[in-house]
């Protein structure tokens, strides 16, 4: 996925001279995960900007750049460090268009690696999608494959709204895929039905997608597997359509359970598909605790826990 993102950024920057990249170590170093590798030598330090250590500045400058007509793609080195910039995100980025009566807009595409997978402990593993998804005014997307990463990035940069682009760092190097030459845009707001089945609906996204898919394959589960791709606005029709068909739901994500994205999905189901439900809606998620250095594998949902949930919803009358 790192190479895919790098390729997409290359394309985007070559096509549009208004696009700039900024963040810590994104230039000379090429980013700590190498996503921006080589860009500075191609596009110069004016467009690939190594910033001082201040997320408020990275995000705040990006907002100002966008207001003044640029198309910034800031990088937050680890999503865990985004919170010093939270005010800029909640009170500025998400509200520029609204508060100015539509006279100013804020098309920033904010990239941030999130989730576990690098033995990073409580400060290099967080999954903070709830903080963004709850903030009206932000689009939130997350790819689960290299091709989707490119397609979503194209859509994000073509839109006119601020986008929080969450990159599952667990999948940066683990997923291999033949990426086609011409990757089409992945539309914002549309989920992908990865597999179809009748017995239950498994709803997931980002870092958990490969785990869910391999669990389903290995155990021959007859399930719809939905990769949300866009977290806000969520693809209600895909979710509700599937649940109406299967009547059983398992939601899988890595973020802590309480008010994790799963709670919104469960609420949508409880609001719109209650008549079709044949079993409790089960969430398989990270626990309501910080992310530990040791026992990462216990924190992150795994095959065993997913299977337990699947059994529970399918065995229920």
């Amino acid at each position: 996925m790192v190479q895919a993102l790098n390729r997409a950024l290359n394309d985007i920057m070559a096509k549009n001279p208004s696009v700039v990249i900024l963040g810590e170590d994104v230039g000379v170093d090429g980013g700590v995960f190498r996503v921006t590798d080589g860009l500075i030598s191609k596009f110069g330090p004016e467009r690939v900007i190594d910033t001082p250590l201040a997320e408020i500045g990275i995000v705040g400058m990006s907002i100002g750049m966008a207001i003044s007509g640029l198309r910034p793609i800031p990088e937050i080195q680890f999503q865990d460090f985004i919170y010093t910039a939270m005010d800029q995100i909640i009170n500025q980025m998400a509200k520029i268009r609204y508060r100015s009566g539509g006279e100013y807009t804020c098309p920033v595409v904010l990239r941030a690696p999130y989730g576990g997978g690098v033995k990073g402990g409580l400060y290099h593993s967080q999954s903070g999608e709830t903080y963004f998804a709850h903030t009206a005014g932000l689009i939130v997307v997350t790819p689960s494959t290299p091709t989707d990463a490119i397609g979503l990035l194209y859509s994000a940069i073509d839109g006119n709204d601020p986008v929080i682009f969450l990159e599952p760092k667990r999948l940066y190097r683990s997923v291999k895929e033949d990426v086609p030459d011409n990757v089409p845009k992945v539309p914002i707001g549309k989920a992908k039905i990865i597999r179809e089945g009748d017995e239950l609906s498994i709803i997931t996204y980002g870092p958990m997608v490969p785990t869910v898919v391999s669990t389903v394959q290995k155990n021959n589960i007859n399930a719809d597997v939905i990769d949300l791709r866009t977290l806000v606005p969520m693809d209600r029709d895909a979710i509700i359509g599937s649940v109406k068909k299967t009547g059983r739901v398992v939601i899988v994500h890595e973020a802590p359970r309480t008010l994790g994205l799963g709670s919104e999905i469960a609420a949508l189901v409880a609001e719109r598909a209650i008549d079709s439900l044949l079993a409790p809606v089960i969430r398989v998620t990270g626990p309501d605790s910080p992310f530990p250095y040791r026992y990462e594998d216990y924190y992150v949902p795994n095959e065993k826990r997913i299977m337990k949930a699947i059994k529970r919803v399918t065995e229920e009358a």
Partner: protein, 338 residues
């Protein structure tokens, strides 16, 4: 006062400046009164900062972009924003460009490149650096101006913006309108140093100027702005004035201070401006009175006019959250307005 020979352009510029200050003051008092009568919801009086704002505005060009703050009424007026735009915002009526979404005093006026004001103090400063970066990248000649209070210098955003502005050497002018107070906190308790000196910490030039004197402001800002415009890098200007009114119409300053400067005092920026006009032989009592009377007439008329404008449609309160509403919002608003 140095008795230089003034060109007629200068003379009319000074009269324009004085007029904007008087308009600002007159409008201010009108709104504060209207608020007391319940005709306006809220307001942050700007009295005492007219010279700071007008002097600054005189030094700027049309192409310059302003991240202002909630007291910048005289700046807006001098820069050419129609008075109606200000009153409509205060009233949040259907002609308010912000469509009644923001509290009074949170102005926006694209016609004079004045970006919509947020409430969280200091948070516009990093945006100003970003805009200035865009100007520099595109080799445009505009500068970006950020105004803010003394309280704002304590915020995280101030530090980060100053540092990044200096590191990226962008054309931004930071103007601290130091009115001595942040609600109840005097500037002496806000920080242990003089504000303009904070520039040193960023390798930036810091300038102290008398914000009660529009001419000093004009001259100092002109020099500073020109230097920024010609690639000299960012600058911090501290303009010292005094917040003559309450912090806001919800504030009761008697809880924490005696008003040290009152209208008509020698330090009142309007009194100083009047004296300047007279000393420079640009105006006399008659002119001053005429400008004041005219200002009152305009303010009264505009205010009355704007009060008649109907409120925006309720649905506008729930639009433009995105370029296209989400389905959630559409549904929710359907339910609300149903």
């Amino acid at each position: 006062m140095e008795m230089e020979k003034l060109t007629s352009a200068e003379k009319s510029a000074y009269i324009k400046a004085f007029t904007a200050m008087v308009l600002g003051r007159t409008l201010d008092k009108k709104i504060v009164n209207a608020q007391r009568q319940g005709r306006v919801g809220f307001y942050t009086p700007t009295m005492g900062q007219e010279a700071t704002q007008v002097g600054l505005s005189m030094s700027l060009g049309r192409e310059d972009f302003i991240y202002g703050y909630y007291r910048d009424v005289s700046l807006l007026l001098h820069r050419g924003a129609p008075m109606e735009a200000i009153i409509n915002q205060i009233m949040g009526n259907s002609k308010d460009v912000e469509k009644g979404r923001q509290m009074p005093s949170h102005f926006s006026y694209k016609g004079v490149n004045f970006m919509s004001v947020p409430s969280p103090v200091g948070t516009n400063l990093p945006l100003a650096v970003g805009s200035a970066y865009a100007f520099k990248l595109r080799k445009e000649k505009g500068v970006v101006v950020a105004t803010f209070g003394d309280g704002a210098t304590s915020t995280p955003d101030f530090h980060v913006a100053m540092n990044m502005a200096a590191v990226f050497h962008v054309p931004v002018v930071f103007v601290c309108e130091n009115n001595g107070w942040a609600i109840s906190l005097p500037v002496e308790k806000q920080t242990e140093t003089e504000i303009y000196k904070k520039a040193d910490a960023y390798g930036m030039k810091g300038i102290l100027v008398d914000g009660n004197n529009f001419l000093e402001m004009y001259k100092t800002c002109t020099e500073a702005v020109n230097n920024v415009r010609s690639g000299g890098g960012p600058v911090l200007i501290e303009a010292r004035s005094y917040r003559m009114g309450a912090h806001s119409t919800s504030d009761d300053p008697t809880k924490y201070r005696k008003d040290e400067v009152k209208e008509g005092d020698a330090k009142d920026p309007l009194i100083i401006a009047e004296k300047i006009l007279k000393d420079l032989n640009i105006g006399d009592d008659k002119l001053v009175e005429k400008i004041k009377a005219e200002a009152q007439r305009i303010v009264d008329a505009k205010f009355q006019e704007c009060e008649k404008i109907p409120p925006p449609e309720p649905i506008t309160a729930f639009q433009e959250v995105y370029s296209k509403n989400t389905w959630m919002l559409d549904e929710e608003v359907g339910d609300i307005l149903d």
